[in-house]
Amino acid sequence: MPEILASLEASSFSTWLRESPSVWAYPTVLTLHTVGLGILVGANWMVDLRVLGFGRAIPLGIITRAFPFMWAGFWLNAITGVLLFVADPTKGTTTVFMWKLAIIACGVALLISLKRKLYGRSVEMDAATLSVKAIAAGSLVVWIAAIATGRWMAYVV
């Protein structure tokens, strides 16, 4: 492990996050990280599924209201993710973590491109084009991979 990570791990904040018996340390951070996952992926999946043709009664022009929720979940997880990294920097050097970051970058890129395709659509416009559907399908799969790599981190180091 690089020296900078070793000193991070030895810092009092890192030690507190990792070892404190307080419920506000590791357990709270981990719970919030799970809540953020649910909000980000849950909201994104509902939009993906709508684009793919499920729940057609929801107008495409309105489903865009789910995007602020996705960003809320994303930032909650960016912050709690940094805290989890500080608590256990060794996990942050694993290959599975690199995969996880790369997959999340893909997920966010798909989120942004989906938002661009859907914004400004009239409320009545119902049928999504094939290219939008491809983005939605990709997004569904990418978040499954993000969850899988995230879960896998519990079993390394």
Binding site: T34, R65, F69
Partner: protein
């Protein structure tokens, strides 16, 4: 009594598969979190609309996404049962597990009561229409109890010996 249940469950083939396979447990955990996201997405959408947010969406339209929340619950009840059968001792003495089961029951009873008493009324709410107080309460109870199910689930490793 609980000890004999633990011993019996551990003697089953499912339990032995769950604890001997290196892949099965992480795979079920992944499925459990996929189910969690489906539930948060599907139920969250409904709960927010019932609570009076996202009024531009007709309630009947939101209800079309409910099947994904049901799928999420189904996946999680199955994978959750596999965890319990796989390592019953981790849960049976764990206070967080009872908290999780309690609020799972609260969420289910809330849905059952709301469905039987308001099921028809809810579908009649059009886009832009506000919801009555009873709907707001049902939505808030649902969101609150699902959050507590998640919270106690996450606490399992910290209040006992589960992972």
């Amino acid at each position: 009594m609980s000890e004999s249940i633990v011993l019996f469950l551990k003697s089953t083939a499912i339990s032995q598969a769950m604890s001997s396979s290196r892949l099965l447990w992480p795979l079920c955990e992944t499925l459990h979190f996929i189910g969690l996201a489906l539930l948060v997405g599907g139920a969250g959408l409904m709960d927010l609309r019932l609570m009076g947010f996202l009024k531009s969406i007709p309630v009947a339209a939101v209800m079309q996404m409910r099947k994904w929340a049901v799928l999420g619950v189904l996946i999680n009840v199955i994978t959750g049962s596999l965890f319990f059968i796989g390592a019953p001792a981790q849960y049976i003495n764990n206070p967080a597990w009872y908290g999780k089961l309690l609020f799972l029951a609260v969420a289910m009873i809330n849905i059952a009561v709301f469905e039987t008493t308001q099921g028809k009324r809810v579908l009649a709410l059009a886009a832009g229409e506000n919801t009555p107080v009873s709907f707001k309460v049902a939505g808030a109870v649902s969101m609150g109890s699902w959050f507590l199910v998640l919270y106690f689930g996450r606490m399992l490793p910290f209040t006992g010996n589960a992972f």
